[in-house]
């Protein structure tokens, strides 16, 4: 009895990510470095079962798999993970955290990885741009006259100006400036 779907059996297609993995690209301590950071603890519990990818709304439209990000971290592909754009595709919707049976907390792991990437000057251009807007205006986007008008119509008080002096103190003491410096010029790469 031969079923109609037997041809595809036992012949898995090759991974679409870059194969083969070369020894020189592997940093075996990378996963521990990530797991040691706050939010990265769950990483080592990953079974690579794919439940995260199966529910990922980003993955349903583009070639992005949370499991592959985790897999690459566990493999130790430091460069590929931190430099690539994959890291910045997560929409932080937390569906994968909901689906995960091992409490890996993928969104938290991604936050750790993004921080690491940013410190090394690999932040995504859009994020650098946004960070600069915050530094300049105290907001993630500029306040426009249009919003002011709507607020007036609704009888809401006008936006209060953010306290830039306080903000700059926070930015300086939190190490935010160094991260922005490390990513200098990245915002125009978009």
């Amino acid at each position: 009895m031969e079923g109609s779907n037997s041809d595809s059996v036992r012949k898995p297609k090759p991974y679409r990510s870059d194969v083969p993995v070369r020894d020189a690209d592997v940093d075996s301590a990378f996963k521990y470095e990530v797991a040691d950071k706050f939010g990265g603890e769950g990483l080592l519990r990953c079974l690579k079962c794919g439940a995260c990818s199966g529910g990922c709304p980003v993955g349903s439209v583009i070639d992005y798999r949370p499991r592959r990000v985790l897999g690459n971290v566990l493999l130790g592909l430091r460069e590929q993970v931190l430099v690539g754009e994959n890291l910045w595709l997560c929409a932080a919707c937390f569906t994968c955290e909901e689906r995960c049976v091992q409490e890996v907390n993928f969104t938290d792991v991604v936050t750790v990885l993004r921080n690491m990437a940013s410190e090394e000057g690999h932040a995504a251009p859009g994020y650098v741009k946004m960070a600069k807007t915050v530094m300049e205006h105290g907001r993630v986007s500029k306040a426009t006259g249009h919003v002011g008008k709507i607020r007036e119509e609704l009888g809401l008080p006008p936006f209060s100006e953010p306290d830039m002096e306080q903000l700059h103190k926070i930015i300086q003491s939190s190490g935010f400036l160094e991260i922005i410096e490390a990513n200098e010029g990245r915002e125009s790469e978009e």
Partner: protein
């Protein structure tokens, strides 16, 4: 022997010659038979109206595809007819005291409302009963009356009246020529002296509705594996016709979702339930076996296939090569229903290729893991035996003393100790019987 005489005999048992077996599944049955064949008396307590346990509900066994009932039924009769076995079905253990060689066990005989010594199992009462309710034995897919046997091989073949649903119309009383029905029957408790105890309380199926993303209870064409077993069972509610719930059609494409309630720390089941991979493959094979022309596509979505036993890996290979079953490695992310066709779309990543798949199936079967039964904790605390973090009984040593508990004279077999398949449960039943017989032969000395 009337019920009163039976209870009087039980309370006068000689403890050094008698063992108690709690649970009448295949493991407890094996333990009872092995003890009884050595000449000891056995009191076998089972809480449902029939012995047989979960194995009686199954259609086939893996990896040989033997008919489950064909293996089990002879054992059922053997237990029922064995002169050394006192069968107490529809009964529960409510208290245990004493020590090895001299335990005192309190057993509650729930009122069955049918006299076991008079009922011949003819079933004349059934057609007169006006009440129809879902049959627990068929996982609620079929119906039974308020006076019922769960399945044709009910052992002992004695009917039971379900007090909760009975309306006391007494139609059955009038219909019974043997005057076997006594609606005034009351629960009774008896204290039985025994020398050794074998715990064989079995398992409970994981409740798959704890995964809302998999749609069980929300979509009609998502069922669990035990419901599927009843659907393909010739003695089941559809007489063995595989069909789906929404429209009664034979499903042309079936998806099996593995690891539902197993290896999942978020649902407090961090352990592998051991049996689901193999019963999943078996059920996939059975779909092709039963409907070779109609069922075109059978796909199993798995996290890891654990084909660890004798002949299991070969069975897994045969499922792929001979039956053409497709295996996709990836835990299912979520399912959705097509409101027009009521088909179920499975969303999953094929982790071997990295592809995101949206596969539509006409029927989806969730393969749940297994849990320790809720009552096990109560029995364990009565016995003074510890349970492990997963809720199963602790044994003295999992490798060298796998059926001894820390309490002398108390032994464990089957899934009460941890998830087991049928061969392992039977082996553990025999082992526990042997260990218990040593306690009895030494008069309770340890």
């Amino acid at each position: 022997m009337t019920e009163a005489e039976k209870l009087a005999t039980l309370s006068q048992m000689s403890p050094t010659q008698t063992a108690l077996v709690i649970g009448g599944g295949v493991s407890g049955m094996q333990a009872s038979l092995d003890l009884a064949d050595q000449g000891f008396n056995v009191v076998l307590v089972e809480k449902t109206p029939s012995i047989g346990g979960a194995m009686a509900m199954l259609d086939k066994t893996f990896p040989t595809l033997d008919c489950s009932a064909c293996i089990l039924t002879p054992k059922l009769s053997e237990v029922a007819r064995h002169p050394n076995i006192e069968l107490l079905t529809y009964s529960e253990v409510t208290g245990i005291s004493g020590q090895a060689g001299n335990f005192k066990v309190k057993v509650l005989r729930k009122a069955r409302k049918v006299l076991e010594d008079k009922c011949s199992g003819c079933g004349d009462c059934v057609e007169h009963c006006p009440i129809e309710i879902p049959n627990e034995f068929d996982q609620g897919l079929g119906f039974r009356r308020a006076v019922y046997v769960g399945f044709p091989q009910n052992t002992p073949l004695v009917y039971t009246i379900d007090d909760e649903n009975c309306i006391k119309c007494e139609m059955c009383v009038k219909a019974c020529e043997r005057e076997a029905i006594d609606l005034a029957m009351k629960d009774e408790e008896v204290e039985i002296p025994v020398g050794a105890i074998v715990v064989a309380t079995g398992f409970e199926l994981f409740d798959v509705s704890k995964y809302p993303r998999l749609g069980y209870g929300e979509y009609k064409n998502v069922i669990n594996a035990l419901e599927y077993e009843r659907l393909i069972n010739a003695a089941g509610p559809t007489a063995g016709h595989l069909l789906r719930m929404s429209d009664g059609k034979i499903p042309k494409s079936i998806g099996f979702v593995q690891c539902v309630g197993a290896r999942d720390v978020t649902n407090q089941v961090p352990y592998c339930a051991r049996v689901c991979c193999m019963y999943g493959i078996k059920n996939a094979v059975m779909a092709k076996e039963l409907q070779p022309d109609n069922v075109k596509n059978v796909t199993v979505y798995y996290a890891d296939i654990r084909a660890y036993g004798k002949g299991f890996e070969e069975f897994y290979n045969m499922a792929q090569t001979r039956f053409g079953i497709e295996f996709i490695r990836g835990r299912v992310g979520e399912v959705a229903e097509n409101p027009k066709t009521r088909n179920i779309e499975i969303r999953v990543e094929n982790t071997e290729t990295g592809e995101y798949l949206q596969h539509e199936h006409e029927l989806v079967v969730l393969c749940p893991g297994i849990l320790p039964p809720k009552e096990l904790r109560v029995i364990a605390s009565e016995l003074g035996v510890d349970v492990d973090s997963d809720g199963y009984l602790f044994v003295e040593h999992p490798a060298s003393n796998p059926v001894d508990t820390k309490v002398p004279g108390v032994f464990v077999c089957g899934c009460a100790e941890g998830p087991k398949d049928i061969p392992d449960s039977v082996a553990a039943g025999s082992a526990a019987a042997m260990r218990a017989s040593i306690t009895l032969a030494k008069g309770g000395e340890v």
